[in-house]
Amino acid sequence: MSRYSAFAIASKAMRRHSGWERVWTSPDPKRNYDVVIVGAGGHGLATAYYLGKNHNVRDVAIIEKGWLGGGNTGRNTTIVRSGYLQDDSVAIYELSRSLYETMSQDLNFNVMFSPRGLMMLAQTHHEVRGYKRTVNANSLQGLATEFIGPERVKKLCPIIEINGPRFPVLGAFWQARGGTARHDAVAWAYARACSKMGMHVVQQCAVTGISRDEEGIRGVETEKGPINCKKLGVVVAGHSGVLAEMAGFRLPIESVALQALVSEPIKPCLDVVVMANTVHGYISQSDKGELVIGGGTDGFNNYSQRGSFHHIEETVRALVETFPIISRLKMLRQWGGIVDMTGDRSPIISKTPVRNLFFNCGWGTGGFKAIPGSGWAMAELIAKGNPGPLAAPFSLDRFKEGRFIDESVAAGVAH
């Protein structure tokens, strides 16, 4: 497959771009593979890629019921950060963030990773304490984050109102190497790299059943016929529960809608990513000029990629209060995705009751930033059959033992 470069574009331009190769091949599936990955979203494709790259497992099919990257990968707010609190979270999210730094070069596809800096506003004393705590933890975890004062916040983000009457900005948690990336490009780049390694990306091929026997996994039933495999990895975000049911067990997961929206494109006015957790809203500006905005999840199980409008109202209300100049800008498009929430809001990368069946799910609202790290850890789990230190803490049995990885340490207000 020919490499992408300015030179390639120039030479192809001479032939009116008639010479470009397909980004990925779309073959009909074989009957047997060493490994089948269900779900060609970012996490599934990354899993396949690192199976090939790190473990030299290349007889792999990634099967997708719709179009690759068409799920949450293509409908999130593209935030990349690793400033979490717990050791186990920081380990996987920071690996992930560092892989984003070199992803464009590794995959020879510009995923537009933009480490423009990310801040989480502290708007109550409680939040100040919480973020200082995280900064201290991060320093012991070797992660570069800091707590900055209101003046610095204003300097990094001039359009912010730091003296809001209701929730003045008391400071912020700042990760200078956090940022955003182009979500579609991430899926496309991994798919291209997988094809390059001879893997099969099979789109429009829904899984209708999972075949197993006492030995363990046998393969999957699909719209395009049965496919056998030695190992099966399920990486389907919102639909994990449905797949688990096919395999005959239940996951500690509930699927809910998460909404996002964009404004019309305007000239650059916001150079960093801002998250305001007291008021539930986060915002960044895309390279196209759209303000990309996200908020909280709906409160009930929902498999329709549509959420309830009052959540949009709450998010926009909060952001207009924090960024008064956006009041006269307009919402161009809103949409929803299905996210799978676990009991402790941390992901699952784990073996299952079925031998050689592995699940990677439960990324909730934070999946995009984790794509490379999640694929890395899942690939190791599938290749070795046992989790490495990255995946081990995220095993299913933690819920039985009460060993939670809880990032939502703000226990609510109390005096």
């Binding site: 209701r166 019309e264 009460g402």
Partner: protein, 1009 residues
């Protein structure tokens, strides 16, 4: 050159001239004009620049679907980018500026990129700017960001206000054309509650423009009477109100425009309607598509229907000589209207082998020249149309003849406006006859009852022949009524005539000409705003971006501010032909709300400034405000953090409050604490389940401290419980816990133990509660007098009802400060008076008010835990050494089973200790949230091994040294050990000694005094 004709223009009032400015140049228009019609009347061809190549852009459409004529409208705080000129009503003094061009609209440096367009195909940025690492972020991205975006963001806060409004209706009709009004008429006459919304400032839709005749009279006549009739039936009729989106269960958002851009009156600017309808009738009409032909983006190329609108509505001609290029009969109406107005129509280029319908016939009768089976080889002109070259439709663009003209009307057929149908899940079906996607009646959006919630009518339903529209609307309305169980009363549907019996069918013409050359494919636009050309779709298909979602995202087709209203179907068709599949097999992208962009301000509604969020205030709030309180938000409450005197710092104020209380007496407004009354024969049984300790055995008149866990075993709240009588308990909760714990108890009673006989009342706001603490507390209260507060008759952890001064109070002898302390509960309306009485009486004892921070310091000195500081949702009572508050005898309580799990009983749990700290040079106390770690070890991730964290840290003015509480791995077994704390702002590690978490009066002399 476009110009205003001497007569005509049904919407303008030539008596009322309005002055306005565009890019600094003064112009004038008429009342009733849109900015677009006024600019056109003034001959302004170029109004904007395209997004990617900064090509000159002129008007294409006449409605909200306009992709090109976006301007920045207004001045100062009211300046608003990306306003669509075609929907912006003209007003006196309007100021508009062009966007996305520099230095000027006429000469835009950005347009250079157009020269290199060949090197900037779809998605070029994915293939380049790849290295070096950081190259994208540091070099390329900033440049691209500057080139991208459209208007400049506002610089000032929005001075206007907005509001929301909840409306309910049996039937919501979207669209006030013949279809909408007909459907509404039947529904209203049948007794249904009807709400009709129309986005334009006037009723009637296209029928009025196309001088259709209804029941023998001009459409406008019928429209007027129909609207009157509807109002007579009590139907709510709303103009300038755009339905934005349909959500589940018949919930529809609509935005009403209440003032023009000037908003001189300073009233509401917009009102966001939240409509709950049992049924929705979508009669939103249809939108015309341009033809895809070489040079079709040059200013002067417009939609045929738009040219007709400007002519009829505003008396403006798009040019002197206007050529029509079409694949259908409808566009001949434009030709006829133009020639009636005396405007030259040199030719009608028709892609069909034979244009033999009635309308072409009428055109020929007028002597207009129709060139059949022809396409457009080329459109001449750069900054505006100078002419057009025709070619054979079947060929690849060899010029057959050149025709001079200064405007071109394109028509590629119509697309039904199906957005609202699709938003809430309605499916679409491809219609070969009209060459368009239309609502599939077999798969409508469903309501909560599982039957159709929306019905499409008229053009929106793909019924594009106007004489059938009324019948179609009647059917939709009757179906909706029937599904609601309402019998439709017979209402005479209007007879609609378009002047012709038949229209010859449209014929698909996706590429004009059919076998367009490669060069032409790169000059034929599909998405005007985002500069998506045929060649871009070709490239996407070639590279394997085959799904419509991939192609859309790769080329940005349909992602402009018009969301593909003009471009999507053309793009799909060309993608389909590239892939050799049928259009319906390619499918459409998902329609997402809103139908047109809506201001964030409207979404916020009234909830800005003071109404952004409620602030909860205690009955004593005003006193705090008058006495120097620094407020701390606690949930929605405001509580005094401390009270500043003169120019003292917060730190000094807190120290003063602590010492003042410890040495004399201090008053705290504790009104925000939860007060939950639990009564009934099973009240004790309930509390024994909710609390970790035993409450049922609490003696009358006594208080007891209690802990609550969630079912997961983690601490969720704490507080003092008082036994009021045999069957009644009063439970105090944290401020944040009041509503949560009340709901929590109700939940268990209603959903798990519903046979238990107990009732829960949340009395939090019935009482103001005042804490009087300090060695002189008793003296103060005795001075006010009214009840016996002596130690003997009123010991620690008791409560009494009685009088203090003039007030009926309930006094609790409890202490969160470690001092001798009384908490007085009084009915809320008397709270302020009691507070003032006590402050007054307290003068001689140096009584002072203290805030939450002083409260924190005092409780920490005493080693009391604080929910939210020592706990964070992952901490058990055992972790905090609170075993004494957990009953061993009880078989069950909420959280008990969870606490038996292996991990929660591990020996290496982090448990509560105190820290003896060195004095700091830099400041008085250790920073918040510091971690304790082993200097030698690392964990499996290579991080320093953390073995604990600081949960509370304060400067103790009482002890004159910093104090801290911490959770440390098996801490209580390590008293006396030294441990290392990382401190970012000390810049170095700190060594502290692990001690008991009680720093003051461990035997409790003070509180028992």
């Amino acid at each position: 050159m476009s110009k205003r004709l001497s007569e005509g223009g049904r919407l303008i009032d030539r008596e009322r001239t309005l002055r306005f400015a565009f890019d600094g140049k003064p112009y004038s228009g008429f009342y009733g004009d849109t900015l677009a019609s006024a600019l056109m009347a003034n001959g302004q061809k170029i109004i904007g620049r395209s997004f990617k190549f900064h090509r000159p852009r002129g008007l294409v459409a006449s409605g909200p679907e306009e992709p090109n004529a976006l301007v920045s409208l207004g001045e100062g705080p009211r300046r608003e980018p990306n306003q669509v000129a075609t929907t912006a009503e003209l007003f006196e003094g309007l100021v508009a500026e062009s966007q996305n061009c520099w230095p000027s609209l006429d000469f835009d440096v950005g347009a250079l990129s157009d020269r290199f367009s060949r090197f900037l195909p779809a998605g070029f940025y994915y293939k380049t700017f790849i290295s070096p690492k950081n190259g994208w972020y540091r070099l390329f991205e900033p440049a691209i960001r500057r080139m991208a975006g459209l208007g400049k963001p506002p610089e000032l806060p929005d001075p206007d206000c907005y509001e929301h409004f909840y409306a309910h209706a049996d039937i919501l009709v979207v669209g006030g054309g013949i279809a909408g009004l007909t459907a509404a008429r039947i529904a209203a006459a049948s007794g249904a509650r009807v709400l009709v919304v129309e986005q334009r400032p006037n009723w009637g839709g296209r029928s009025v423009v196309d001088n259709v005749r209804v029941d023998g009279a001009a459409a406008s006549e019928w429209v007027r009477s129909a609207v009157e009739e509807l109002e007579g039936f009590g139907a709510a009729m709303r103009l300038k109100t755009t339905a934005l989106g349909a959500y589940s269960h018949g919930y529809v958002l609509a935005c009403e425009r209440l003032s023009d851009g000037s908003n001189r009156k300073g009233g509401l600017r917009q009102r966001l309607w939240r409509i709950r309808a049992r049924k929705i009738i979508v009669a939103a009409g249809a939108i015309e598509r341009p033809l895809v032909c070489p040079g079709n983006d040059i200013p002067g190329v417009m939609l045929a229907s738009a040219i007709r609108d400007y002519l009829t509505d505003y008396g403006v001609a798009a040019g002197r000589e206007i050529v029509i290029a079409t694949n259908n009969d409808d566009s001949y109406r434009t030709a006829l209207a133009l020639s009636d107005a005396g405007i030259e129509v040199p030719a009608i280029i028709d892609t069909r082998p034979s244009a033999s319908g009635e309308l072409p016939g009428l055109a020929r009768e007028r002597g207009l020249r129709v060139i059949e089976s022809s396409g457009v080889a080329k459109i001449f002109g750069k900054r505006q149309v100078r002419g057009v070259a025709a070619c054979s439709m079947g060929g690849s663009g060899e010029i057959s003849e050149k025709i001079n003209c200064d405007a071109i009307a394109l028509s590629g057929g119509w697309s039904p406006t199906v957005h609202l149908w699709s938003h809430s899940g309605g499916k679409l079906r491809w219609d070969d006859h009209w060459v368009a996607f239309k609502p599939d009646p077999d798969f409508p959006p469903l309501g909560d009852d599982g039957i159709a919630v929306a019905y499409a009518a008229g053009a929106a339903n793909g019924e594009l022949l106007c004489r059938n529209i009324a019948a179609d609307a009647e059917m939709a309305s009757k179906r909706a009524l029937a599904d609601m169980g309402i019998d439709a009363v017979p209402v005479e549907s209007p007879a609609v005539e378009s002047g012709v019996e038949n229209e010859a069918p449209i014929e698909p013409a996706w590429l004009v000409p059919n076998n367009m050359s490669c060069a032409d494919r790169a000059r034929s636009w599909i998405d005007y705003q985002n500069d998506v050309k045929v060649s871009d779709i070709d490239l996407a298909a070639l590279e394997g971006y085959e799904s419509v979602e991939h192609a859309k995202r790769y080329t940005t087709l349909g992602m402009a501010t018009d969301q593909g209203k003009l471009s999507n179907v053309n793009g799909l068709a060309i993608l389909a032909s590239d892939l050799g599949t049928a259009i319906p097999d390619v499918g459409t992208t998902t329609f997402r709300p809103p139908y047109i962009p809506v201001a964030f301000g409207a979404i916020v509604g009234e909830a800005a400034g003071n109404l952004f969020k409620p602030v909860r205030k205690t009955p004593i709030h005003s006193w705090h405000d008058d006495n120097g309180a620094i407020w701390e938000p606690v949930g929605d409450w405001r509580r005094p953090f401390c009270y500043l005197r003169f120019d003292e710092t917060e730190r000094n104020a807190v120290n003063r409050e602590v010492l003042g209380t410890r040495q004399g007496v201090g008053l705290l407004d504790a009104s925000t604490l939860g007060k939950i009354l639990v009564s009934g024969p099973d009240a004790g049984r309930l509390l024994d389940m909710v609390y970790t300790g035993v409450m049922s055995s609490l003696p009358l008149g006594k208080c007891k401290y209690g802990l609550m866990c969630n079912e997961n075993g983690f601490l969720m709240d704490d507080g003092v419980v008082a036994r009021i009588d045999e069957q009644t308990f009063l439970c105090h909760t944290t401020t944040g816990g009041a509503d949560r714990i009340h709901a929590w108890m109700e939940e268990w009673l209603q959903t798990e133990w519903w046979e238990w006989r107990a009732h829960v009342h949340n009395l939090t706001e019935q009482y103001a509660q005042i804490c009087v603490a300090g060695p002189k507390a008793r003296e103060l209260l005795e001075k006010v007098g009214g009840m016996d507060l002596s130690k003997a008759s009123f010991p620690f952890m008791g409560w009494r009802d009685g009088r203090i001064g003039e007030f009926n109070v309930r006094v609790f002898r409890i202490s969160f400060s470690g001092e001798l302390s009384f908490e007085l509960a009084v009915r809320a309306r008397e709270g302020l008076a009691l507070w003032e009485t006590l402050m007054d009486a307290g003068k001689e004892f140096g009584a002072l008010p203290y805030g939450t921070e002083c409260l924190h310091v005092m409780r920490a000195e005493k080693g009391f835990i604080m929910i939210g500081d020592e706990t964070d949702g992952t901490v058990t009572p055992q972790d905090l050494g609170l075993h004494w508050a957990i009953s061993k005898k009880k078989f069950d309580f909420i959280g008990k089973r969870a606490l038996e799990r292996s991990y929660l009983n591990g020996s290496n749990r982090w448990r509560l200790v105190g820290l003896e700290l060195p004095r700091f040079k830099s400041k008085e106390q250790l920073e918040d949230g510091a971690y304790l770690y082993e200097t030698s070890a690392v964990n499996e991730h290579g991080h320093a091994k953390m073995i604990g964290r600081v949960t509370s840290t304060y400067y103790s003015p009482t002890l004159e040294r910093p104090i801290a509480m911490a959770l440390v791995e098996s801490g209580p077994d390590r008293f006396g050990e030294f441990i290392t704390i990382n401190s970012k702002d000390e810049g170095k590690a700190i060594v502290a000694k692990i001690v008991e978490p009680v720093f003051l009066d461990s035997e409790g002399k003070r509180q028992n005094a």
